[in-house]
């Protein structure tokens, strides 16, 4: 089995964020960059599939130089090699269509891909679309929100999965190659051990420059990579202060309500919901 994982390096959205001086992006100063958390589930699932059926795991990302850190993390988790489509312009907000074309084009050079995993969402842009668009560019099936891989049949080139849909789930069968997007319900990603982190640095990492990309055959111009050529441009970005009323009823000791305070707090809350919020 040749298994590919498309990963992205993202901003840590749990960290403090503020608007940058340009007014259209988050201030990158001191920003912590991490492997997109959902991609960790994808890497884990890829490694488990390899452990069960044999083969190799290849990571791919499209991002600026710093994104190689995310690849190293995936290699330390147990992937075998990595491909880095690298350009500083890829650090800006780039159309998902462009990323998917670049990745699909490079995957065209990876022989015999059977399965592609990727996270269900990229948390900084809150994008669910890139992975699925890679499948479209490659002309292969995709299964979004796969909560469980039920069976892989490498000889028949088939895969059976359970995927989540609105109001339920479906079991589906699809022919390989196929792309799967991974939610967090899928598995428990492993941590990279210190020796494996050291070993990761010696694993093969191929860097692809945009100079090597045949944009003509992708049907886009090189200007499409980066802010100026984007089909969708961010004109402004705000980090709104949450304005909440903060009317929290506490007990007399500033902790939980107790004794008579309980019934009283229920009465007061309902009164607030009716008279102040007017929602009941």
């Amino acid at each position: 089995m040749k298994i590919v994982v498309f990963i992205t390096q993202t901003q840590d959205t749990e960290a403090r964020i503020k608007v940058g001086s340009s007014g259209d992006s988050i201030d990158a100063e001191g920003m912590k960059w991490i492997m997109n958390p959902y991609d960790e589930f994808a890497v884990e699932e890829a490694i488990r599939t390899k452990e069960a059926y044999g083969g190799e795991v290849v990571l791919i990302t499209a991002g600026p130089q710093r994104a190689s850190q995310a690849l190293l993390q995936g290699l330390a988790m147990g992937a075998d090699s990595a491909v880095h489509i690298s350009d500083e312009a890829l650090g800006e907000t780039v159309d998902s269509l462009v990323i998917s074309k670049l990745v699909a084009s490079e995957l065209g050079n990876v022989e015999g891909v059977d399965l592609i995993f990727t996270g269900m969402k990229i948390i900084d842009e809150e994008s669910v679309q890139v992975g699925i668009q890679i499948a479209e560019e490659l002309g292969i099936a995709h299964l979004a929100l796969v909560s469980k891989v039920i069976d892989v049949k490498p000889d028949e080139k088939k895969l059976v999965c359970q995927k989540e849909i609105d109001g339920g789930s479906v079991s589906v069968e699809v022919s390989l190659p196929a792309l799967i997007t991974c939610p967090d319900a899928m598995n428990e990603p492993r941590y990279a051990s210190v020796p494996n982190i050291m070993k990761a640095k010696r694993k093969p990492m191929k860097t692809v420059s945009l100079d090597d990309v045949d944009f003509g055959s992708l049907g886009i111009s090189r200007d499409a990579v980066g802010k100026s050529g984007a089909k969708i441009k961010t004109v402004s970005l705000e980090v709104p202060e949450v304005q909440r009323k903060l009317r929290i009823i506490k007990g007399s000791d500033e902790t939980t309500v107790k004794g008579d305070e309980i019934a009283e707090s229920a009465r007061e809350l309902v009164k607030l919901l009716r008279d102040d919020a007017k929602v009941i």
Binding site: E126, E164, D166, A185, K245, I248, K250, T256
Partner: protein, 327 residues
């Protein structure tokens, strides 16, 4: 490029059109100008067209094909791509449902379009480019984005409950289309489909949501959440921690991984309030929390709340709510 604004209907498992479709049709009419039309894709859906006309659709493009079923994306991708290529609409909108997240990205690739997903506001620039607002960074940031107007269809999906639905008679001219979908287009074979019938409103559509966290401590105790939800006519939700612990099914999960909701009233019971959970409910109008930990982060992001043990607070709260609701 025509000046048509398309709204693709979102259909539920029971064949009904989702409320978000009517919300998007209404807002498109109010904000985008042009001729607002609907697209109805599915199997055995033709007789639903008149409902779309009731929200102002001038035309309704219908593809009714047995291969458009079971929320299987392949047929829908082909149908919508074919329609867009044939009619060149200016804008294509849809509700941001799990199914839209599944198939709309392929459509955008198929027709070479930009795609903005899960938008909470839509509008038009003076020169006819779609302008949207959407959340990013776990819903802590909100960005205004504009399409560059390169002539390709501008495609966007819209978060349910973002706009008010407002009926208005449209011409409703039905245009039956044959997108040429055959069995060979369908790559995914559905072996088994498990959907739940529930009397409660759906999470993403509900005006009120009651959610529970790990503090509920068991599947059985989640009945407290269901009872309170039913009393309020609310949908029932949960945190990832509660779902992971097996207290309730995955489709109840609200947050970064699960569903994004924006109800008028969100009641968070025994939920600490992680960034990931907030990512899915932070745009709720009124947030009420019940938590026994006075330091729980959720309190700093709530409008109202009680610091108390849910098992002690919910019984009297239920009684008071019953009284208030019967008045």
């Amino acid at each position: 490029m025509s000046s048509e604004i398309w709204v693709v209907a979102d259909i539920k498992a029971d064949g009904q059109i989702r409320k978000v479709t009517f919300e998007v049709l209404s807002e498109a009419r109010r904000k985008l100008g042009g001729s607002v039309c609907a697209v109805l894709l599915g199997s055995g859906v033709s007789d639903r067209a008149s409902e779309l006309a009731g929200y102002g659709a001038e035309k309704i493009y219908v593809v009714d094909n047995p291969n458009l079923r079971d929320f299987n994306p392949d047929g829908y991708v082909k149908a919508l791509c074919e329609l867009i290529k044939k009619h060149s609409p200016a804008v294509v909108l849809s509700g941001n449902t799990a199914f839209a997240e599944d198939y709309i990205p392929r459509v955008a690739s198929g027709v070479g379009s930009g795609l903005a997903m899960d938008c909470v506001d839509i509008g038009m620039t003076d020169d006819g480019r779609l302008r949207i607002k959407r959340y990013s960074h776990s819903s802590r940031a909100i960005s205004t984005q504009e399409f560059n107007g390169d002539g390709s269809a501008m495609i966007a999906t819209v978060r349910p409950n973002s706009f008010k639905e407002e009926g208005s008679a449209g011409a409703g001219q039905v245009v039956n289309e044959d997108a040429g979908i055959t069995d060979a287009d369908i790559r995914i074979k559905v072996l088994e489909m498990k959907t739940k019938e529930s009397d409660r409103p759906e999470l993403t559509e509900a005006e009120r949501v009651v959610s529970g966290g790990r503090g509920l401590a068991s599947e059985e105790n989640f009945n407290h959440i269901y009872d309170l939800a039913d009393l309020l006519g609310a949908a029932a939700g949960a945190t990832r921690a509660a779902v992971d612990a097996g207290y309730c099914p995955y489709d109840m999960q609200v947050g970064q991984t699960g569903k994004a909701v924006s109800p008028v009233l969100y009641v968070a019971v025994a939920i600490s309030g992680s960034v990931q959970h907030f990512s899915g409910m932070g745009s709720s109008k009124v947030i009420v929390s019940i938590n026994k930990d006075p330091e729980a982060p959720i309190f700093a992001k709530s409008d109202y709340g009680i610091c108390g043990d849910l098992f002690q607070v919910l019984p009297p709260l239920t009684e008071e709510l019953k009284k208030a609701l019967s008045e």
